[in-house]
Symmetry: C2
DNA sequence: CAGCATCCGTAACTTACATTACGGATATGT
DNA sequence: ACATATCCGTAATGTAAGTTACGGATGCTG
């Protein structure tokens, strides 16, 4: 099988895995279920991903790479820092509370080995954090914000932007926020953030 | 069996359930495992709790009742509102990020029926919310805070107090916060909160 | 084109677990 | 004290799932 063709096939399998995961949760997702959804065989899944954990690790890693590249694209612009935050905030909130992210967080919560959680966090929050640090440092250099500890400032921004939305999504008590909600909450977060650190 | 004796026995079984749940996660927790830890029989568990879901519902409900009574005790004092918040905040944060709460949130995340999440939220956040509303209304009456929407104010307070600590606890990337940390974060939350709404 | 690798669909194997059942021991109520 | 209910420890039952295996179809490479 061609490398390119295999890559496409792999993504189809991963997409099928998400469909089963989002419909049935981690506990209700079996390798055979994914294989059937993807019209693939168990043997192929095990050959390509190693085992169930390996397949989920691949899902987490790919999802995180996509989130990161989305956000990095914003950072390459010449816009001023607060404008970047205005664009980045709703996108980040949307991604973190989207159905895929929620499904992956649920998988991590159910994974008693802690490995999915580690991958999710390293590739997620821990990857986004330095990006946000760069934005906030830019804002400070532009004289828009005033803080000593960049990490503290990023943490505060995330508290105001995301708060406890994720856990409420994960336990099933918060519907997916609308685009409108994400914009409004981001604007609110920026407003409060500037009030506190401006 | 005496009502009183049965109640004690039931709590012993629930304590054993927590031990298994915290050690092995929801997916790794079997009824037989709990029965063995509690030195009870499967038959007794099924007679008393109905099924696995029923047992976990009981865990959630009892934990929430305890959290609530903890917090209500603070509310019965004659202290001024901000003092109450100074006491309530660290306690609430400690309870919400404690090992039991985390284990229950994980169970809810793994429960594809959504029932545990519903119980957890109704008996948790949704029970705590009105308590906090009362505190903040008292603070407004005392002239300490200024806001229009009580619910919005409570949400902001929770964002500042808890933020994304819970989800990070649940996916295993945040150790349990120390008492000292809870006090400091609560104090920080109150400070920012007053800065924004004072 | 032929030989080999790999994929699909399906089955097999092993293990685990939710739930029910059972014999004997213990507790309860009269 | 006796009869009955209930609990414990263990086994049985039925189902599901992780993983491997297999025959035939398809794809790839020389």
């Amino acid at each position: 099988m061609r490398e390119e063709k295999r890559s496409i096939r792999q993504q189809q399998i991963e997409a099928a895995a998400y469909e089963v995961l989002e419909a049935k949760g981690y506990g209700g997702t079996s390798m055979l279920g994914i294989a059937k959804q993807a019209r693939a065989s168990n043997e192929t899944l095990y050959n390509w991903f190693g085992d169930k954990q390996g397949l989920f690790q691949a899902l987490v890693a790919r999802n995180a790479a996509e989130v990161k590249s989305h956000l990095e694209a914003e950072l390459e612009t010449d816009h001023d820092a607060m404008s970047i935050l205005d664009t980045l905030g709703p996108k980040l909130l949307d991604l973190l509370t989207g159905d895929r992210a929620v499904a992956l967080n649920r998988a991590a919560a159910a994974d008693s080995s802690g490995e999915l959680g580690a991958t999710l966090s390293k590739a997620g929050r821990e990857a986004v954090f330095p990006l946000l640090e760069r934005v906030l440092l830019r804002a400070r250099n532009e004289g828009q914000l005033n803080f000593d500890e960049t990490g503290e400032a990023v943490g505060l921004y995330l508290d105001l932007l995301i708060g406890d939305l994720q856990i409420r999504r994960v336990i099933g008590r918060q519907p997916r926020p609308s685009r409108k909600f994400c914009k409004e909450r981001s604007a609110r977060a920026v407003r409060y953030f500037r009030q506190l650190l401006g």
